[in-house]
Amino acid sequence: MAALWTLSLLLSASLLGCLAMTSPDGSPLPHNLPPSLGTNISDGSLSVDLPMALRVFSMDYHHIQAPFEIVLWIMLASLAKLGFHWSGRVPAVVPESCVLIMVGLLVGGVIYGVRHSAPPTLSADAFFLFLLPPIVLDAGYFLPGRLFFENLGTILWYAVLGTLWNVLGIGLSLYGVCLLAQSSLGDVSLLHCLLFGSLIAAVDPVAVLSVFQEMQVNEQLHILVFGESLLNDAVTVVLYKLFESFLRLPSVSGLDVLLGGCRVVVVGIGGLCVGLFFGLLAALTSRFTSRAQVIAPLFVFLYSYLSYLTSEMLHFSGIMAIVTCAATMKQYVEANVSERSNTSIQYFLKMWSSVSETLIFIFLGVSTIQDIHMWSWPFVCSTLLLCLIWRATGVLLLTAFVNKLRRNAVTFRDQFIIAYGGLRGAICFSLVFLIDDFPKKRLFITTTIVVILFTVFVQGMTIKPLVELLYVKRKKRALPTLSEEIHSRLIDHLVAGIEDVVGYWGQHYWKDKFEQFNKKYLRRFLIRNDRQASSSILRVYQELERREQRGVEEEAPPIVDPRSQGRPLLPEEMESIRRILSRNLQNFNNKQTPAYSRHTLHQDTSVDRTRKPLYRHQSLGERYSYNTITHFQGEDGGLSEPQRVRTGLSRSHTVCSISPRSTLLDSSDSAGPAQTRSTDPKAAREDLVSPKHKETVERAARKHLSFVLENEKQQ
C-alpha cells in the first residue's frame, strides 16, 4: 500500500515534470532543451541532424499539445484520487475534496517554481461548459424523486429566500465594513459589494455532494441541503447578472429591481421547461433504440447536455434544466433500454462526474497559486465571519417559519448541519473571474479563494465529527419489513380516502393524480411495451427474499416437480431462463446499497423494475415442513395451505440453480450446466432427505441460489 502510494507519487512527479515543461500560451519551442544537441529546431519540431535529408526521428510536440495537456491533467487527477483511496487512514479524517485541493496546491506550486509564472487557471468557460454539467447530471439522474418532491416546499423556501437573505445580508454588511475601513476599501461601491455577496452566498452542489455523501446523514437532511444547492443556482445566476448589469447601467431604478424579481421566476421556470422538454424527447427517443442498443446510452448524455446548452443560450438556469431533464427521462429510459445499456449509462455518469469533480478541485488548488493576489485583513476576515453569521441566522429564521407547515419538523441539530454544511465551491470561483475588471477585483478573487478554502477545509473536515457529536439521526439502513410496507401502504390509501371525504387536496391527491396521468398517458406513449410496474410491496418482498437467500447458510433444496423431472428444456425456455437470470442477477447486485456514492455504482432501491418478477417457489410455510417426506407426497392433508400453493405453482415450472459468484455474462452460461447438475440428485424420489442434505452441504459451500422461474407460456 505504501508502495502504491510512492509509485503514484513518482508518476505524479514525472507528470509534473512534463507539465512544467509545457508553456501555457502554446508557443511551440521547448526552451529548456540544451542547444548543444545539434538539434534542428524549425517550425515547432525538432530533429536530429543527419547527413541525409530524411528525418529518422522527430518529435512534434506542438501538434498534439492541447489534447496531451488535457489528458495529463486528467491523469494527474485520477492518480491522485487513486492514491487517496489507498492511503489508509486519510479518507476517514480528510474529505476527498480537501486532499485534491492540496494536490492542486502542490502541483501549482511546482509549476510556479519551475516556470516563475502563474500556472494555468480554470477558465470560466471550461468550468461552466465542460466541468459542471456532468456533476449536475449525475446528481439529477440519481435524485431520490419522492423525497425531493415531499420536501420541495422547504427546499424552495431555503433556496430562494435563504439565498436572497444571504446575498442582501452579506452585501450590505460588507458595504458597511468598507465604509468603516475607508482608508483601504473606500473605492468599493455598494453595487460591487452586492455583486460579491451574490456570488459568495451561494451554496455549491459539488462541494456539498462530496462532503455529505461521505457522512451518512438521514435522507431528509441530505435532500434539503442538496436540493437547496441545486435550486439556488437560479437565484444566484439572476442576482449575479442583475448586479452586473446594474454596474454597467448609469443608474438603477425601482423598475429595474422589480424586473429583476420577475427575471428570477423566468429563469427558474424557463430552465425547468427546457429540461422537461428535452427529458421527454429523450424518453421518446429511447423507445426506439431496441435495434441499436449500443448507442442508447449516448442519447441520455446528448439530450441532457443539449438541454444545458440550450438553457444557457437562453440565459436560463442551466443547472435546473439538466436536473429536470435527467429526473424526467430516468424512469422511461430505464424501462426502455436493455440492462447493459442501463449499466453503461450509470457507469458513465458516475465516471464522468467523478473525473469532473476531481478536476475541479485540483484546479481550485492550482489556481490558488497566483501572483495577482491582493490581501486585506478586514475584508477577508469580515467576509468569512459574515458568511457564517448570515447563513446561520438565515437558516434559523427560515426553519422557524417552515416548521409550522411541515409534518416532520427540522430539528435544531438538522438546522446546525444545514447551516454548517453550506460549503462554497468552484461556482463562486468561476463567477468571480467573470467580473468586469475594476481596481479591487484582485481583492475579490483572493477573498473568494480564501472563503472556498476555509469552507472546504475547515467546515468539510470538522462536519463529520460534529455530526457524530450531535448524534444526528443517521440514515436508516434497514429495509422496511414486508408487514411495515403493507400496512404503510394501507394507511396511505386510508389517508387518501379520508382526505377525499374531508375534501382536502393534500399532497396525496396530487401525487395520485400525477401517477394516474403518468400511467395512462406518459408511460404508454414513452415506454416500449410497458409491463406493469411492480409496486413497492412486491419490490420489498423480492428484496427480502433475496437477502434471505443470500444469508441463509443451509439452503433448503429446490422443490422437486414431479412432472418436469427429467424433461429436457425447450430452447425457448432456456432462452427465457437465461434472460431472466441475467436480469435478476443485475437486480440482485444492484439493489443492496443506497444512492449517492461517488466511488461505486449504487442503485436507488426505489428504482422501478418492470421486469418479470421472480419469486421463490418454496414459500416459507413449506420450509417448516420440509423434514417430513409425507408432506411432499401429499399424504398429509392438514398442511393444505402450502400444498395448495405448490400445486398451483407446479403447473409449469422449471427448477434451476445458479451460483452467484458469476458475473452478468457468466450466469447465462452456468444456467445450462447447472440445470443438469441439479436434476441428477432429484432422480431418486423415495429418499428425498439424504440427497437434500448432500445438496445442502454442497450448496452451502458454494452458496447457490435457488430460483423457480415462471414459464414463458404462463405470461
Binding site: 403493507i486 389517508v495 374531508v502 410491496i537
Partner: protein
C-alpha cells in the same frame, strides 16, 4: 365527544360544512350513496372498507357526531415538542389510530387479521400486478414476520409491534382546514 378526541371549533365548523355538502338530499345524515358520489373514494382500493368504517354500528346512515368521531382519529396531532425537536407521541392517540387501521383489515371483528383477510386487502391494493401465487407468498411472508404467537393470524398487539418504527401520528393525520 370526549376530551381525548377534542377538536377545535374551527375544525368542527369546517367539518359541518363538509357534512352538509356531502348530504345531498339534506336528511341530516349520510347514506352510502353520498359516499359513493365521491369519485376519489370510489377509485380507492380500500374505498369500500373506509366507507364501512363510517357505518360502524350496523346502521345505514351516518349522523354528524359519528362522522366527526371517525374523523377525529385523523386530527392533526398537537406539536408537543421538547427541545430536541422530537415529537412526543401520546400513547392513546397512537393506539386509537392503529386500532382504526386494524379494523380495516379485520372485517369480521374477531380481533385478529387472518390470512384470508390479509389476502383480501393485498388483492385490493396490488390488483392485477401480481399473480395469485405471489399474493399467497407475500401474505405468507407478512404473517410469518409479524406472527409472534404462531397462531397464523395477526393480533392487534402484533400489528402494533410491526409498526413500532413507523411514525403513525404524522402519517395518519389529515389537515381539516383547507
Amino acid at each position: 365527544m370526549g376530551s381525548s378526541s377534542s377538536i377545535s371549533s374551527a375544525h368542527l365548523l369546517r367539518l359541518y360544512d363538509r357534512f352538509e355538502s356531502l348530504d345531498r338530499d339534506n336528511r341530516g345524515c349520510l347514506s352510502p350513496d353520498d359516499f359513493e358520489a365521491l369519485g376519489g373514494l370510489a377509485m380507492n382500493p380500500i374505498g369500500g372498507r373506509i366507507m364501512e368504517a363510517f357505518f360502524s354500528s350496523g346502521q345505514d346512515t351516518v349522523d354528524f357526531s359519528s362522522f366527526v368521531r371517525i374523523l377525529a382519529h385523523f386530527r392533526p396531532t398537537d406539536r408537543n415538542r421538547n427541545k430536541e425537536g422530537a415529537q412526543q407521541e401520546l400513547p392513546s392517540s397512537r393506539t386509537r389510530k392503529l386500532k382504526f387501521a386494524f379494523q380495516l383489515y379485520d372485517m369480521d371483528r374477531d380481533g385478529k387479521i387472518s390470512r384470508e383477510e390479509l389476502l383480501q386487502v393485498l388483492r385490493a391494493m396490488l390488483g392485477l400486478q401480481v399473480t395469485e401465487e405471489q399474493l399467497q407468498s407475500i401474505a405468507e411472508r407478512a404473517i410469518q414476520e409479524a406472527d409472534l404467537d404462531k397462531d397464523d393470524a395477526i393480533s392487534f398487539d402484533e400489528f402494533k409491534k410491526s409498526l413500532e418504527k413507523t411514525d403513525i401520528d404524522t402519517k395518519m393525520s389529515v389537515s381539516f382546514l383547507k
